[in-house]
Symmetry: D2
Subunit: 255 residues, 4 copies
């Protein structure tokens, strides 16, 4: 039986503001990355999102960010490595306590937005995050791009990683993502689903038509786009039609 | 051997701003209440304060607050009970992860400022906090006024409480504190130390000269006043001269 | 020719979060109350909303709030009167500069949420707000409930007020609004439009069936409800069918 | 009579936190740059600082920043040019209204921290700031480094600029400041005063011993260092001993 994980960001509402169609989207994924209050989410949104994840039996991940509610965590912020470690611990701990109150635990950690992007290419940032994750739990999984600095730093500390690929983003021939600001960088539903299937199979067609080999364990869907639920539903159906079972990656030990 | 706990608020700096003489004050206490980022403190301040507590072998407490950095958590904010429970979990979890990274644990929880005041007299708020604390850990101690709603709610849920008294605040004959805005409500160093000794002995002279019996287990010092360190030092010396040993309350089980 | 003003709250998005159908709603009103960054709105949202108001030639009002983004300004926060005055000045000045950059000016000021509610019934708060408004401009209009503390305080300082009524909220026989938490306090579209027409005519049927006389100059629509645009469109059509022209209240002097 | 302006940052307290010895420092300067709530300062602090400036008859400047209270505005934040313009307007307008309530006006604008640094070297940021300043007032002065991008952009829009130099920072031979992280970049009191005198005279000795010519109109003191008041006092006395009169730059037209 072929297994694949599909993850999506959730819990990105805040106070009076609602974002994302979490209740619909969650039916089509096996892992969720829950915002921890720094780019989105608050204690109540986090609690509701944990409850939703528990109900749908999907794996719960923490989705820590730079402290930038106004910029939704998408702006890089200069920060010492020691500060990044504590920033990650703060957010992961907050979600852990809220999850624990519902009998749930944190299965994986995936940095959000600009923190994710920096962690993929900057060694110091990657190590700072990995140190925070390890201090929290040696058993939690780290979601990251294959061959990224975060993958390297996490594995060097003995952490398990989970290589992820993006269903709806165009790839460069070198395996990086085409910049969001370049037209065509975001795929339409049909192309995204096709790319998702190819990725589950370890391949992706890059921007220049070449085919890359990418060994990945989880497919990332974006939760806040216009077609988020449609893409998610179509992807799940296509994967199942190809014989895949959606399942979150196995966590070997507890936090 | 007579034991008594002395606790003080710490870690109330934030970003560029410094508050309190934590490094001096910590020499004279056995428990510290660490701000969790909602009224003061940030991930780095929290980490430094945990390190300080570990170094001085004092018990670490979480000091959760309403979300009001500008008002330093001293303004009441209307909030549903279910939200208060999550608010407490968020903050306690954040500190827990930061403490855990240094091999430390949370021994007690004490609400801060307006949240403390409301929790002493409002049953619904007290129960909401107690539920959050219990969901985090059945073994953690709850610091609160004797006979307060928070004491009652915590004990009803099977939590251990620790009755506290204020060294530098004048008492009303009914055991409540004289309002901060009334002249004479804050005691000078000498009077505070004398009151601290009396309280350790289970007694306090109220505003009208009458003597109250108050069975308490921890004496609270305020960390941010002008005379904070002086009062703390004098209190510790006086207590030791009377044969007391400063010691944090015993926690029977772990988080 | 009969004139009536219809006002609605706008610019309540923030960063990544969108709220309200401003672009639709603005076609049916003559005045807008723009959030100033404390309960909603940011510098960019404010700028866009000013541009929208300028394009549709509707009067621009400042909508200052308690500093509570998470609670959307709906929670009361204890604050000294002197602080409230500065709080109002800060927000009004911020909007003024953004409006001025587009050649626009502020025609009226209306407190938001909890600050509005307190200002209607609390003399000290009302006076603090009126002082801030007068310091900003003697010519700006103050939107408030008829006979409220804010009306009294504003007029005592020589400010012009503009009595407002709520189209979609049920009234108590004494002229106050039925509490939001009581079923039936929010009217459906049809009833709201009927009440709007009656109010334009100086009358409203209260909860107990009695008819109140209310001399009002502006009708308030809520911008963020499900039926906001539908109510607004139906109200404008009904008012025009009855011979009313929508027009913002005349401001006699400039800021 | 030789005139020179001395400016310092002020109003950098926030809520419960106090920063800087404004009451002492203000005796030795002729212009103050007041924080506008984004890196420090709040409506009350701003109001108190305006009152202090009015009492001491020093010129009031707005000191706008990136929105980063935690990082004290010292972290660069990616932002579109159009957003920067509104960000500046928001903060300047807020201070303007608070100043106006005390009969005062804004004489100059000086970006803070990272926003200052970026504006000196990045054309797009400089133009965005200059556009915001011009939309606020054509008569206000722009404080900036001589020959910086902000000076060029401001003058291109017809704004008056005021070239500033730093009393307590070591200069590179090319006229830029030695990086804060390099030892010796911050001067001691005696050296700072000597450099201040030389700068008033249009000269500065750079790191390599070479002498630069710098035509400057205002000397900047840092308000939050340990020796801030001592440096300020010594500088004023030395300048006066050399026949200088401290005076804020002349503003030709009003906001």
């Amino acid at each position: 039986m072929k297994q694949i994980d599909v993850n999506a960001d959730m819990g990105e509402s805040f106070g009076r503001w609602t974002l994302g169609a979490d209740e619909k989207l969650i039916e089509y994924v096996s892992s969720v990355n829950i915002a921890c209050g720094f780019h989105a989410g608050d204690w109540e949104v986090m609690s509701h999102t944990v409850a939703l994840a528990v109900k749908h039996r999907v794996a719960i991940g923490a989705h820590p960010s730079y402290p930038d509610l106004h910029g939704f965590g998408r702006r890089h912020m200069e920060m010492k490595a020691t500060e990044i470690t504590q920033l990650v611990l703060y957010q992961v701990g907050a979600l852990w306590a809220i999850a624990r109150a519902q009998g749930a635990n944190i299965a994986h950690i995936k940095p959000h937005g600009a923190l994710y992007n920096i962690a993929m290419r900057d060694e110091e940032c990657a190590e700072a995050i990995a140190r925070g994750i390890k201090a929290f739990s040696k058993g939690v999984l780290v979601f990251c791009l294959p061959h990224s600095k975060l993958e390297i730093a996490s594995e060097a500390l003995g952490l398990k990683t989970c290589a992820e690929a993006f269903v709806d983003r165009r790839y460069e021939p070198n395996g990086s993502l085409v910049d969001r600001n370049i037209p065509g960088s975001i795929l339409d539903v049909e192309t995204a689903v096709r790319q998702g299937l190819a990725l589950a199979n370890g391949k992706v067609v890059a921007r220049d038509g070449s085919t890359l080999e990418l060994a990945i364990e989880t497919l990332c869907l974006h939760g806040d786009g216009h077609h988020a639920s449609a893409t998610a539903e179509a992807l799940r159906k296509s994967l199942e039609a190809e014989g895949y079972v959606l399942a979150s990656p196995k966590v070997t030990s507890d936090a």
